[in-house]
Symmetry: C2
């Protein structure tokens, strides 16, 4: 690794996950597509929540989850996002900072609460989300300029950032920060629906600025405007220098230059909850990249972390007693 | 069962649990006795929280947990407690109401937040708590008079209620409500430290008003002013009509009149987190009592529900998809 600290800066929508078990009929009743993410208003998220069973709450956010996994695996990281001055904002900050992540959070003061994602887990372990972005939606270029540290190796952004009104501007600011730092830009595409919402912008961005692309099949296909996965992989390979496309229980494909390597999946006894699988994969991939390993090793470590996280409820690794306390 | 609805009314401190893994050294650093519960201020709970690792949040409260288990097992219940008009208050209400519990919550408007318990889980699965009572501390006799429904079979209170400034008065009100309804009074002793804090009052209460007593060894011994568990059981047997004393992994003793029956423990593969074991035991015990089963069956069902809850993180049963949604 280089001597830079932090190694990686993640920028994303700061969200607290509200995890609840549902059955398929509930998704149908709510008109939600399984596996997708829909943006909803504060009223809508409360109304859906009120119609569901008991929940547990834990910090989430796609890039935030990735950064949490990286920190737990010893990679120095910072996180930039926006929360409100409320209980969920404090919880979000604590859960990252207590892993050693340098939390650089802008604070919203417009009365909107910290963002939350209602994560509905079906018996097959799939997760379907309704997200109220809350304070996260007002993250802007000035916040990024103020919060992103001067030096790092990778700036990681998530597709969901394009959902913010100032998304394009804050992403442009992230790019100029990366250029100034000589850092690479990594993008995780977040969700096929999100890619479709911002297709032209995202394609232009990936083509012009993205060094490392992380996506699942549906997201890669949406970005490539292809229904055939091989054609989508062709597009990815032609467009970015380094990429991983995950295939759920069938492992992943790692692409770099002419290399297109299939990485076998990890064995998993029982899939409990796929929440955060892609985020964990990204962490393993970027960790081994930062360590100077080979591309197939990036994919193998991604698969290992993803396999771990889908065997319990929640998007982050189970927290072990940590040494920092004493 | 009788035709009364609800069958059982629980009155307790309404708390949201903040669950975090710690090691033994952390408990030492914090000067906390393993397995105990300490009352702390809002400043103290934040300061301890800030020194610990990532947490997850889920609704708790001793009697609230018992009522949640009862509702999940088909027993019509109501719950009386006090929360603030904040996010945790809404979460607390939702998590009980969504199980079908009739939530009858007083709302505090003095700016204190909803109460929370920092539940520190050590690798042996034991839980040690620091509790900030928040809004729960202002539960009073007028709230109880207003919220307890006119008809039920059992009113269940927790020892922790004595920690509130108006605890004695609100418990007296609960007794007169029970008398008016012809309902039995059940008491769960909560914590040995709590029993010691209020020993004289609790002994008088158990002697004069308690029909059903639920305790673990440490609590029963504290109440009996005995170090020998058999002597403590003698005291319990002489003092209340029906009781259960739990012995952790060694099962429980059920006492009724001259009967003193040992109930064997359930086999458990791995103890993950003992949070809520006593609350789950109480639910199984009271369920079979309400169904008119025999005392050893009360204890067996208590053991079954407790065994279930200690095999995962959190105080309540894992939520399954529920039919209410469709």
């Amino acid at each position: 690794m280089s001597e830079r600290r932090p190694k990686l800066v993640g920028i994303g929508n700061a969200l607290v996950d509200v995890l609840v078990n549902v059955d398929d009929a509930t998704l149908e009743r709510l008109g939600l597509e399984k596996g997708g993410m829909e943006l909803v208003s504060q009223d809508q998220i409360w109304s859906i929540y009120d119609s569901l069973g008991p929940a547990t709450e834990s910090s989430g956010g796609s890039v935030a989850n990735t950064v949490a996994h990286l920190a737990m695996n010893g990679v120095p990281c910072a996180y930039v996002g926006k929360v409100a001055e409320d209980t969920f904002g404090r919880i979000f900050d604590h859960d990252l900072a207590s892993l050693g992540v340098e939390t650089r959070l802008a604070r919203s003061s417009d009365g909107t609460g910290t963002g939350r994602a209602l994560v509905m887990i079906t018996p097959d372990g799939q997760r379907t989300m309704c997200t109220f972005l809350g304070a996260a939606v007002s993250l802007n270029a000035a916040d990024v300029a103020e919060q992103v540290p001067a030096s790092c190796d990778i700036i990681l952004i998530e597709g969901y950032l394009w959902d913010a009104p100032e998304g394009a501007a804050l992403i442009a600011e992230a790019v100029s920060r990366a250029e100034a730092a000589g850092a690479k830009i990594a993008v995780t595409l977040s969700d096929a629906g999100c890619v479709q919402r911002h297709l032209d912008e995202m394609r232009r961005f990936v083509d012009q600025h993205c060094d490392i692309l992380l996506a699942n099949e549906a997201e890669a296909s949406a970005l490539a405007r292809q229904t055939d996965i091989d054609a989508a992989l062709d597009y990815v390979q032609e467009t970015v220098a380094l990429a991983a496309v995950t295939h759920s229980e069938r492992g992943s494909t790692v692409l770099e230059g002419d290399l297109r390597a299939t990485v076998a999946p990890q064995q998993v006894d029982k899939v409990v909850d796929t929440t955060g699988a892609g985020d964990a994969y990204a962490a393993g991939f970027l960790k081994r990249l930062l360590e100077g390993a080979s591309p197939t090793e990036f994919g193998a470590e991604g698969g290992r972390l993803a396999a771990e996280v889908i065997q319990h409820v929640g998007a982050r690794a189970l927290s072990e007693p940590r040494a920092k306390a004493s």
